[in-house]
């Protein structure tokens, strides 16, 4: 679960990490008020759950309150599309209005789970403000990484090593080490997956200040951090995806014409892949999961059909724990309620396959049956209007 910059900075503030003075603004009036209170040039930062805001015009400087109001009016209520959001972008409901800061130097500091080495890693670079992936690719010698284990935490000497790598002055070494200790402690105690301060600024008065902050929590750990769950901002999720999540479904909207309903993440990916293999374009990833109910299947199919881009649908079920009859009943229910008109190819396999097929056949709805995975995919692609 990603949280907003302003939420992440609130955590930093509680850790006594320096952050720019700022106010949250949901209206242009609040923005002008904030700019007046801050009494200096300000930066307006669109609060959307995606990186790349700067280049996308989501971070703007205002030299006076009136300019702040004007710029806020343009941002608030708009959708911001960055390199990470996909075409439609994310809605901007709030701005973080901050005192503009002139850094002497900018650094990158990040903490993450290192899957390959099976530990945690802290990364630092003296070239702040750039995405770490870009930096690692273009200028790997400017990035230093140190691995550590959650039970041990980051050692002082490891933090010091990074400070010297960044060529900090001796007076800042201690501050930096202290900062890293606080961040790693927070990371471990709150089950984060990612924590980035980019840029971390060294200001004229010699202070280390977090100009931006990004935090992602481990969804699996949220049950043991009930205070964190409240930070979720559903406005930043695709409406269909949000609806699907309520029913325990894994649904990701894509830009194709063939809607896919599958059980199991791997089979769902493979179903998308085979659609593409035959020249079609999948409209979504949808894994109904193992513990699914008839109601959830019904909602899943409705969601799939409610996507106007969908021309044909492909239902691919390999029943194991999931029973084919349960899926069939859910599908029929949704098809009736949406007065199904689109062609639907069905491939059922495994537990209770005969019952499932019978339910679909008896429904009187226009399902097309396929005997195996390949034939099902070809049919769905053809029905979407692609000639194979």
């Amino acid at each position: 679960m990603l949280i907003h910059e302003f939420q992440a900075k609130e955590f930093l503030r509680r850790l006594d990490v320096n952050i720019p003075e700022g106010r949250l603004a949901a209206t242009p009036a609040e923005a002008i008020q904030a700019a007046r209170e801050l009494a200096s040039p300000v930066v307006l930062k669109a609060q959307v759950l995606a990186g790349g805001r700067g280049k996308a015009g989501g971070i703007l400087r205002a030299d006076n309150p009136e300019e702040a109001q004007k710029l806020a009016a343009g941002l608030l209520g708009s959708h911001l599309a960055t390199a990470q959001t996909g075409g439609q972008g994310l809605p901007v409901f709030r701005l973080l209005v901050e005192k503009a800061i002139q850094p002497k130097k900018e650094f990158y500091v990040g903490l993450c789970v290192d899957r390959k080495n099976e530990n945690l890693a802290v990364l630092a670079s003296s070239r702040g403000g750039i995405e770490i992936e870009q930096l690692s690719a273009s200028c790997p010698e400017s990035v230093k990484k140190i691995g550590f284990y959650p039970d041990e935490g980051l050692k002082l000497f490891e933090a010091r090593r990074l400070a010297y790598f960044l060529k900090l002055e001796e007076s800042s070494v201690r501050d930096f080490v202290h900062l890293l200790q606080k961040l790693t402690r927070f990371f471990i105690d709150h089950d984060l997956k990612l924590l980035e301060i980019n840029p971390l600024a060294l200001t004229a008065d010699g202070k280390l200040t977090a100009l931006d902050a990004r935090m992602e929590f481990d969804d699996c750990s949220l049950p043991r951090h009930p205070e964190l769950a409240a930070l979720r901002d559903e406005s930043q999720e695709n409406e269909l995806e949000r609806e699907a999540r309520k029913y325990g479904l894994n649904y990701i909207k894509m830009d194709g014409q063939i809607g896919c309903l599958v059980n199991g993440a791997g089979l769902a990916m493979a179903t998308m892949d085979i659609v593409k293999h035959f020249g079609g374009r999948p409209a979504n990833f949808l894994d109904i999961g193992g513990g699914v109910t008839e109601e959830a299947v019904s909602r899943a199919f409705e969601i799939l059909l409610s996507d106007d881009q969908v021309i044909s649908a492909l239902i691919n079920i390999f029943g194991g724990i999931v029973r084919c009859d349960l899926v069939a009943r859910g599908v029929v229910k949704a098809a009736h309620s949406r007065s199904l008109k689109k062609p639907v190819v069905v491939r059922l396999e495994g537990t209770n396959v005969a019952e499932g097929r019978k339910i679909l056949e008896d429904s009187g709805l226009p399902f097309t049956f396929a005997l195996d995975f390949e034939r099902a995919a070809r049919l769905a692609v053809e029905l979407s209007g692609v000639r194979i």
Partner: protein, 293 residues
């Protein structure tokens, strides 16, 4: 032969009295798996599905001498269950539980090093040596004993692959789900090494997916190990968008790393036969094996 489990394997079920465990333990018993005991704290002394239940793995080990444990417990105590099994001396631990926090799994991996225990999973369907032992939740009836080893990050996609293989007359030596989480136990490389030395196995099918670097590590292993058996691979997620988690917690392209294309290139360069149509896993494997023989 087969790897990791066979008809002699004595299986312990952690969390036996729970609903899911009860269902799947029943299926395993039907399949002929030698379940010997269950563990549920607080239910020690009871019997469940005809099996003795213990409060701790230590007691179960002492009395019933299992050598494999399969874990069905809630996600927030999953790490504890794995650690308990390792500490009690079990050398193979299969964790079905989905949703264990990733920091917990880092702790588990450090812990396992101390005990030389092997972990399969978490978030795995388990593993099966057809005709001998099923330690997992996969549908047993689609499997047949035979020459193909399977290592997969997926559940239902593996069933699909197994069914295709069985349909073309190729049985399986052992089929293993390594789990869909970012941090898992044994991965492709370690399991390839086990299949290497298994006389029953004539070819190995890898079913990978986007995210992480397990497939790349397998490629590195194969490149330097003069692997004596044909290896085939299907990698799911060629159509996956970056930055989106596709069902499995581990199936995500992060920071430009872990795309299907990259994995396919690496495996191809290591001499692996790439299967680009997931409906032809059975057919292509049959071709490769018939050429070989």
């Amino acid at each position: 032969m087969s790897i990791l489990i066979d008809s002699q394997s004595r299986i312990l079920v952690q969390g036996l009295t729970g609903k899911e465990a009860t269902f799947h333990a029943g299926k395993m018993l039907e399949y002929g798996t030698r379940l010997v005991a269950g563990v549920t704290p607080g239910k020690g002394g009871q019997r469940h599905l005809g099996l003795p239940v213990y409060n701790t793995v230590e007691e179960a080990v002492k009395s019933e001498e299992p050598d494999v444990s399969i874990i069905f417990v809630p996600p927030l105590v999953g790490a504890e269950a794995i650690m308990e099994a390792a500490e009690a001396g079990l050398k193979l631990i299969v964790c079905i539980t989905e949703g264990i926090p990733v920091l917990d799994m880092l702790r588990v991996k450090s812990w396992l090093k101390r005990y030389q225990a092997s972990l399969i999973g978490p978030n795995t369907p388990g593993l099966i040596s057809p005709g001998q032992s099923k330690v997992g939740i996969m549908p047993g009836h689609i499997h047949r004993p035979g020459p193909v080893g399977i290592i997969s990050r997926s559940g239902t996609l593996t069933y699909e692959a197994v069914q295709q293989l069985t349909a073309v007359g190729l049985g399986q030596s052992t089929a293993i789900g390594i789990g869909g989480d970012p941090i898992t136990g044994l991965k492709f490389a370690e399991l390839l090494e086990l299949f290497r030395n298994d006389s029953q196995t004539e070819a190995v099918v890898l079913i990978g997916e986007i995210g992480g670097s397990a497939e790349e590590e397998a490629a590195d292993y194969l490149k330097t190990s003069s692997y004596p058996k044909p290896v085939l691979a299907y990698i799911a997620g060629i159509t996956a968008p970056a930055g989106k988690r596709l069902g499995h917690a581990g199936a995500i392209i992060e920071g430009g790393q872990g795309s299907a294309g990259e994995k396919i290139e690496r495996l191809k360069a290591a001499g692996v036969k790439i299967i680009d149509n997931p409906a032809r896993i059975g057919l292509i494997t049959a071709e490769v094996l018939s050429v070989k023989n």
